[in-house]
Structures are given as C-alpha cells and as structure tokens.
Subunit: 354 residues, 2 copies
C-alpha cells in the first residue's frame, strides 16, 4: 500500500514539498516551497491543511530563513524569529502551528554553535517533529486497528487521513494499519458539508491507497446503517474534554446519535495532544465553537445555492457527549468508559488516563 | 403576505406561466410556455418541479394542443391524446403527472360537444385541478397550523412550499397559515443535500414571503436542537404506508432520530393522495428506493468534489418509522399514533383513518 506524503522535505532537501490540496481531487500536484513567503501562502490558502501537517510544514519552512552562510549568531537567530512570527500569523488559531514554531524558536534561542550550522540544527528539529508525528500516527493506527475486525465496513466523517498529517493520519490510520495487517476493510465516507473534506480528501486518499471507498451525503448515513451496511463508525477529534465529551467537525454528533440508535459502535481516535485536562466537559467547549463564513453554505463551490443574503447557522464543530462514544483511541491507549482524562499528556507510550 | 405562484395560466390565458426554478435563488424569472414542446422541456429540465406543480403544468399544457378552430371532434381528441402521451414521457415516474393527464384525456374522450369548444372544456378541467390543489394546500396548512404555537422555531427539510404546488405548499403551508394567523414563526431550513432544495428553494420562498429563515447544513441540525433552538420539526412525505412509516427525501430519517433524541416533536404533513393503502409498511417501500445519479454527489456544485470515478451511495429517499413521528397531518385530519391508514382516500374533508 503506497501512501501519499502530504508534507516532507523536497528531494534536494533544500525546500518543503507539499501535496497541493487545493487541486484535489482533480489532480495530484506536488509543489516545492523554497521561501518563507511560499510556505506562508501555502498555509493561508489551505494548499497544506490538517493540524499536524501545518505544524510540520511551518517547522520545515523556518529552516528556509537561513542559507548556511550566516556569520553572526545573533543575526541568524533574528532571521529565525522573524520567520517564525510570519508563519505563526498564517493561521493564528492553529495550536500545532504555534507549538511547532515554538520548538523551532527554542532551538535557535538556545543555539551556541557556529552560525553556519544553525540551519542544520533547525533541519534536525523539523525532521524530528515530522518523525514524531509519523510515530504518533502509527501508534494511533495500531491501537485503532484492534477495533477493526476482518471484513469491517467503516463509516467515517471529514478527513483524518494521511493528507492531514506527516504520516498515516489520525483516525484513518486505523484503517490503513488494518489493511496493512491483511484485513479486508471497506470505508463509507460522509461527504462532510460544508467543506466536503470527506468526498474531496478522504475518498481520494483511500482510493489512491487501494482501499474500497464509497461516498455519501451526510444525510444518507442513517439509511446505510439501517440497511445493515455499517459495522462501526470511526471519527477524529479536535478536542477531548476530561469527561470524554468530544468536539469534532460539525455532523459528528448526529452521526453518534444515529449510530447509537442502530446499536453500532462509535469510535473516536485522536492524538493525545487533543486531550485537554483544562476542559472538564463538552459544555465548556460548546461556548467556544465559532461560526464559520456563511458563504460556505450559501455558495461554497462556485455556485449560489441559497439567497445571497440568507441567514446562515454554520458552526465549525459540534460536541458529542461521552455517553454516545464506545471507545476513544489515542497514540497511548484504547480508552473505555467511564472516561476521565484529567492528567496532562506525558511522553508517548504512557497511559493518559488516571 | 405575498406568495409566489409556481405555475398558473399566463396573463392572456393562452399559455402556462411558470416560475423558472432553475434560475433560483439568483433570480425570479417567469416564463410563458406556449407550446407542448415548451411545457415538455420545462418539466424535463426541472424548470417546473414538485409533484403537484408538475401535474398542474402538464394539465394546462395539454390545452395548448388545440387552438379552438378545430372542426373535427376525432382529430381534436387525437391531438389531445398525442399531447398527453408526450407530456407523460417528460417524467415517467411522476404519479401526479400521470394522474392529471389521465383526467385531461378523460375529458377529451368523453367530450360530445362542438370541437371548437373542446379547448374550453380542457381549460376548465386544468383550472379545476389547479383549484383543487390550492384547496388541498390550504387545508393541510390550516390543520398543520394548529401544531405551530406562537413564537415557534420550526426546522424543516427539503422543499414542501409554494414552489412545489399550485398553492401554499404541503408541509410548509402550515408555516404560511400560522404566519397569516398572526403567529410569530421562524424557520430553520436544512440545505438538503444532494440537490439543496432547502437552501435554494425553501429559504428563497420564505424570505420572499417575509418569514425569518436560517439555512444550515444537514449535519448541523443536531447542534441546533441541542442548543434549544428548535421547537418542532415539520417535513413532507413522498409516500405514507398503512402503519404510518413515511418515505421522504434522504435525510429525513436521521432528522427524526435526532429529534426523538432531544424530545422534539416530529411532524409529517402531506396530501392524502400520499397515503398508500397498498403499502403495509416502510419495509415494502425500502426495496423500491432508487439510487440517483452519482454525479449529484461527485460534482453537484459545478465543480468536481470527489474523485471522478468514486463509488457513490445516493438513495433518493429514506424511510422514517412511525414510532419516530409525533403526528401526521393531511388535508383531512391530524393523525396521531397508533397510525392505521388502510382505507383508500375519500373526498377531501373525510377522515382518512379507519
């Protein structure tokens, strides 16, 4: 199974290669980014998307601030600081982006060696961030695959695959690992309005990996379950509260209700960085959910599909209560109810529950 | 409250005036159809849509076969028969279309008067079909309005409004009548993928009628309910089985599950012609649900939004079990569970349940 790489070093190691996600699903176009401005523009325009992938692209992008000919350590550090500030502004609310850039800035700030070698030190750190992300994906995938029986028909929502990360993906990694283990697995992908990440991205990357996939409108998932064609649901998470309530892409909550109605297991899989010990429950998350641009609903794909001035309710996320979730998979463990994620995340491999 | 007329006679009475629904929501364009071919083309291209509206347009269209100068009764009848055959072929599965054309053919077949006056007799029959439809809409609306309290926030799916009929609409007629009665009423319209009748049509006609309306993606309805913003759900029906199971636009069934989960009343409103005494339950309907064109999902917005060869699951309808339905409104009565619709429909005003 050949998997795409959403973000990596370019072949000559002197740039950042991204799969341009704006061109999907029509074409698979890779671009080598060679300047800070090009990386900034790729993040702003969603050519690269998905929290982990953005973090990796930005970390790699910072290295482009230096050319390895620097003679002054302070000047080199300032270039890195400016690059990090610029890239952080590309998507100010992206936590992974901010976190990855913080790591890069720390390396520069603590650097005491030859200024000409700072670029090498930054390159090593960005490579480490990429490799940690790959390991995280693999770990989620291996734990998640234990929940996928041979012959399973998996219903998923949004994109949690290789396109969003430096590796196999988050929730969808479980499907890839199950397939790599020789299990027969088939996926139903909710198209996921308003931005259609399911039909544009998930269907594309599964098809490319040779895993059978069928696309459906979000409102058709219930019929599919009623027809006995779904063995389990598997979705990602943007934030997981202490009590196991999960904030994820809009449309996740009704899917969980419908799955419970049909007695179908509903699994969430996400990096342990998604667990938030500062958020007691979904109630606190609910108040933070932003309304996205109304035009995503009124004219999302180049055509006016509602009155141009129509009022729109367009929340980015919804909250699925823990009671509807059969298990939560992280890179550290498969968690079963009752959930209690009240310890900050430790190093990978360590159990996150108390 | 000024309501649009989706289909009616043209001002000079010599043609069929339709609101061209292909131009919505961008513009409100009326067209006067003056030949059988123009009526045929309008039905095929969905310029006119909605079962009752199609029936009326076709009935009116048949009159265009004659010019009132006919001298031979048999020749005039043949022209009517040819016109009816042609129009029936425009949408072979539309029951209302076939039924309305049958009525027109019967008038011609039984006609014994001056051939020059056959056109007038046909015009009277088409006008009667239109007026019966208007009365049916009004009757559903008045019965349905009893379920809508002052200040109600109503969530609906697809388009069941004036655009689909010759009058106020079917389910949405209840909203119009409630507003005419002076009740404050606000509507949330599911956009209704794949064909977006909710955002394109329902939002447009409610806005035009001055009724507050908010559009949302189908996957956001559950969040809206959880936020306490929905007082009741109101949807139409394509077919109602004897036991009260309801076949309707895809996405209705999950909405009913989600409404039940939140303890929100779920009402169905439809003409009594929709009740099918030959169908014992939704199980029999389920087997008949056709898969629609995959490109509605793969490139429904004028742009490729899934791999061009992606497999698609795209059923036209789903089945909502009677147990999830709080009441079923027809032009004859408000029916409460347990449902038992085992008598053929009688004349309007008569109770349809046993």
């Amino acid at each position: 199974m050949e998997l795409i790489r959403a973000v990596d070093w370019s072949d000559d190691g002197a740039g950042v290669r991204i799969l341009d996600q704006r061109a999907l699903p029509a074409s698979e176009a890779y671009r080598d980014l060679r300047t800070i401005d090009e990386v900034y523009e790729a993040i702003v325009t969603l050519a690269v998307r998905g929290a982990p992938a953005i973090g990796i692209a930005a970390a790699m992008g910072v290295t482009l601030a230096l050319d390895g000919q620097e003679t002054e350590r302070l000047g080199a550090r300032m270039k890195v600081g400016l690059a990090a500030s610029r890239l952080r502004a590309a998507r100010p609310t992206a936590v992974n982006l901010s976190w990855a850039l913080q790591r890069m800035s720390s390396v520069a700030g603590q650097y005491r060696g030859d200024p000409r070698d700072l670029r090498g030190a930054l390159t090593a750190e960005a490579t480490l961030i990429r490799d940690e992300d790959r390991a995280m994906c693999r770990s989620i995938g291996e734990r998640g695959a234990t929940l996928i029986p041979d012959g399973a028909r998996v219903l998923t929502h949004c994109n949690t695959g290789a396109l969003a990360t430096g590796g196999l993906g988050t929730a969808l990694a479980a499907v890839y690992v199950a397939a790599q283990q020789g299990k027969r697995v088939e996926v139903y992908a909710n198209e996921t309005r308003p931005l259609l990440q399911g039909s544009r991205l998930t269907a594309w990357e599964l098809e490319r990996a040779g895993i059978p996939v069928t696309v459906l409108v979000d409102g058709a998932a219930a019929s599919l379950m009623r027809d006995g064609k779904v063995d389990l649901c598997l979705v990602g998470a943007d934030r997981i509260a202490v009590n196991g309530d999960v904030a994820n892409k809009i449309g996740t909550y009704p899917l969980a209700i419908v799955a419970a109605h049909h007695g179908i297991p509903f699994y969430v899989a996400a990096p342990s960085s998604t667990f938030d010990p500062a958020t007691p429950s979904g109630t606190e998350v609910g108040g933070l959910i932003e309304q996205r641009n109304a035009d995503e609903v009124r004219c999302g794909f180049g055509r006016l599909t509602a009155p141009a001035d129509a009022q729109v309710y367009n929340p980015a996320f919804d909250v699925t209560p823990a009671a509807l979730i059969t298990a939560i998979v992280s890179d550290r463990a498969v968690h079963r109810p009752p959930y209690r994620f009240d310890r900050a995340a430790g190093p990978p491999g360590e159990e996150a529950t108390s």
